[in-house]
């Protein structure tokens, strides 16, 4: 067991190293980070060159990389060229907004997915199963911007026009004195995210419940005379939930990055929008910092999920 964890951690370190090299090269050369100064008439070419020298942009590439990596390991992600603020501070500001939005959306998604998946599996091939399957195929094919814009059109624009109570379209800043406004701002983005994500999860729940329901121990439980309800909730669901927990565990780190499209449509001040805004400005320390945080979280949680799984499910023993 310990050798397994050790081997996985070693592999993970190697993966992380590749990620940092890859991201560094891609972001460092994604445009001129000093382009914002180009339009400034007070800044001469010499000044610009001096600034470049001072920021270390003229150093050999490997020096730049190792400088960045050395500081990043100590928790210093560098400074934004545009905002002139430490990247870690900028991320810390946005992270709570993203987490609140994404976790709420995830809870709503999983709740609905469980409900739909259970109905679908228990009443296999019934009218409701077919309806839910159709819904999930459509949901699976809908781009998030469509559900976001559609909800916006109906509940914000049209409702306002019709004189009905309408919902705000995002742009919330956490204001302790007015949590109601904050929650109101969250309704549309959470619905848009949940609507699209529920589809995939509910298919998954359906498949894993059907798989468990066909096993012998379920038949034994039925033969003992237990009611369907008890069999389903006490016996089947527990085992069916295992793969679902894994999937959710693997998805959680991806939530950190927020949803770029959803956050920009609803002007939600989260990490996704931070990433998008600074990627456009080629402000590579910010972009790189966000990529690093997400990928570290992904790599760590993948190992944790794998290890936890083996503890929870005795059928799997690592070799």
């Amino acid at each position: 067991m310990w050798t397994y964890i050790l081997r996985r951690s070693f592999q993970a370190l190697f993966t992380l190293l590749i990620i940092t090299v890859l991201c560094f090269l891609l972001t460092r050369f994604s445009g001129d980070p000093l382009a914002q100064y180009a339009a400034n008439p007070r800044m001469s070419a010499e000044d610009k060159e001096a600034l470049k020298e001072r920021l270390g942009l003229n150093d050999p590439l490997y020096v730049q990389y190792f400088k960045w990596l050395g500081l990043a390991i100590q928790g210093d992600l560098g400074q934004s060229f545009f905002a002139r603020q430490p990247v870690s501070e900028m991320i810390a500001q946005r992270l709570p907004n993203t987490l609140i939005l994404m976790l709420t959306a995830q809870v709503v998604t999983v709740t609905f997915a469980l409900m739909l998946g259970i109905i679908s599996a228990v009443k296999q091939y019934s009218f409701w199963d077919n309806a839910i399957t159709t819904f999930s195929f459509i949901g699976f094919s809908i781009p998030i911007f469509f559900s976001a814009l559609g909800l916006m059109l109906i509940f914000a624009v049209q409702f306002k026009e019709w004189g009905l109570p309408y919902l705000p379209t995002g742009a919330a800043v956490w204001d302790k004195s007015d949590p109601v406004e904050y929650i109101k701002n969250m309704i549309l983005p959470v619905t848009a995210l949940a609507f699209v994500n529920t589809a995939g999860y509910s298919r998954f729940v359906r498949t894993s419940i059907l798989e468990v329901l066909s096993l012998d121990y379920i038949r034994t439980a039925r033969a003992k005379g237990l009611t369907s309800r008890v069999v389903l909730f006490r016996h089947a669901l527990r085992n069916a939930a295992l793969p679902l927990v894994t999937i959710i565990g693997l998805d959680i780190p991806f939530l950190l990055g927020g949803a770029i499209v959803t956050e920009s449509v609803f002007s939600w001040p989260g990490m996704g929008r931070l990433f998008w805004e600074y990627a456009q400005r080629s402000d590579y320390p910010v972009v790189l910092g966000i990529l690093l945080i997400i990928s570290v979280a992904v790599v760590i949680l993948t190992i944790v999920t794998d290890v936890v799984y083996t503890f929870v499910d005795p059928r799997i023993r690592l070799s």
């Binding site: 459509i138 094919s141 469509f146 499209v261 920009s264």
Partner: protein, 319 residues
């Protein structure tokens, strides 16, 4: 061994065949695919969409889809403009036909790149094992640890947008078409490479591979003649589902404004400014292109689902 195969075949014919004729594997697959009603709906839908785009482009010329009519800008659907006009007075209907060509072209070529790359990386990793496997799989894991949209944005910025216009088949395209194809192709091969690797790992332990080796075939021949053709089922299914993903990716990238640049139309870039038009109420500008995107993805997903069940009959036992 030959008789083993023969008896296995005849058994499967007894199980699956109704007429008693000996069916080849591809006939069996076709038979199973035909039984999948939703997949046939997908085929019909996709054919209709193709015909619409193909016939439409003969009736409505490319010039008309780019013609600017400033007097008629932002006009609602009418007799003259069936689907209205966009912010510079271009005919939305004509742009949907010609944009559809681009979106499908981008989707198909991007999938070709990603499938080739994924098959090669996964196949080589599984075939050679050892350090080749370790390195290739760490790179795959590294790229899988970054959410795809983040990777698309970073790679899109990295390649840049300053490529001259190109002429393909007598039509002028913005150079961004090629960039978008590469960006999508290079960011979506990882999932397939993992599946192909697992497949090749189990296949290369099989007797027929040992026979082929002992008969003196080169590694290259074993790889391309025996291992890859036997993973074809997985590859075909992955390419179909990948096509849906690629069309969706094009839409996301273009929605953010990083994708295909006007005047070349694509379903994605017709949505670029959709966000601001939601507030103004010009719903036709984004509802029509989105609907076409959703319908295409839905049909392709349905076909992919049918193919998956047809290629792997075990997978639908519990579905």
């Amino acid at each position: 061994m030959a008789s083993d195969i023969a008896s296995f075949d005849s058994q499967s014919v007894v199980r699956e065949g109704v007429t008693g004729n000996i069916l080849t594997p591809s006939q069996l697959i076709w038979r199973r695919f035909r039984k999948h009603r939703m997949a046939l709906v997908g085929v019909v839908g996709f054919t209709l969409l193709m015909l619409f785009i193909l016939i439409g482009s003969f009736i409505i010329t490319d010039e008309r889809s780019n013609a600017v009519d400033l007097q008629a800008r932002l006009s609602a659907p009418s007799d003259k403009y069936i689907m209205g006009t966009d912010s510079t007075g271009r005919d939305v209907f004509a742009r949907i036909i010609h944009g559809g060509q681009i979106s499908l072209f981008v989707g198909i070529t991007a999938v070709t790149i990603s499938v080739t790359l994924g098959t090669l990386v996964g196949g080589l990793a599984g075939f050679f094992g050892g350090w080749v496997d370790s390195v290739l799989m760490r790179i795959t894991e590294a790229m899988l640890s970054i959410p795809q949209l983040f990777l698309l944005i970073v790679l899109g910025k990295f390649i840049g947008k300053d490529i001259e216009t190109v002429t393909i088949l007598g039509r002028q395209f913005s150079g961004s078409v090629i960039i978008v194809i590469c960006v999508i192709g290079f960011t979506s091969w990882m999932g397939l490479s993992r599946i192909v690797r697992a497949n090749v790992l189990s296949l290369k332990e099989m007797d027929y591979v040992a026979v082929s080796k002992s008969l003196g075939s080169s590694q290259l021949r074993t790889f391309f003649k025996h291992l890859i053709p036997n993973t074809m089922g997985v590859i075909i299914v992955a390419s179909t589902l990948g096509l849906a993903g690629a069309i969706l990716s094009e839409a996301y990238v273009s929605f953010l404004g990083l994708g295909i640049q006007p005047p070349t139309a694509s379903w994605g870039n017709m949505l670029t400014s959709a966000q601001s038009f939601v507030q103004q109420g010009s719903w036709w500008m984004w509802v029509f292109p989105s609907t076409f995107i959703i319908l295409t993805i839905l049909c392709v997903n349905l076909i992919g689902d049918g193919l998956r069940d047809a290629f792997d009959p075990r997978s639908n036992r519990h579905l």
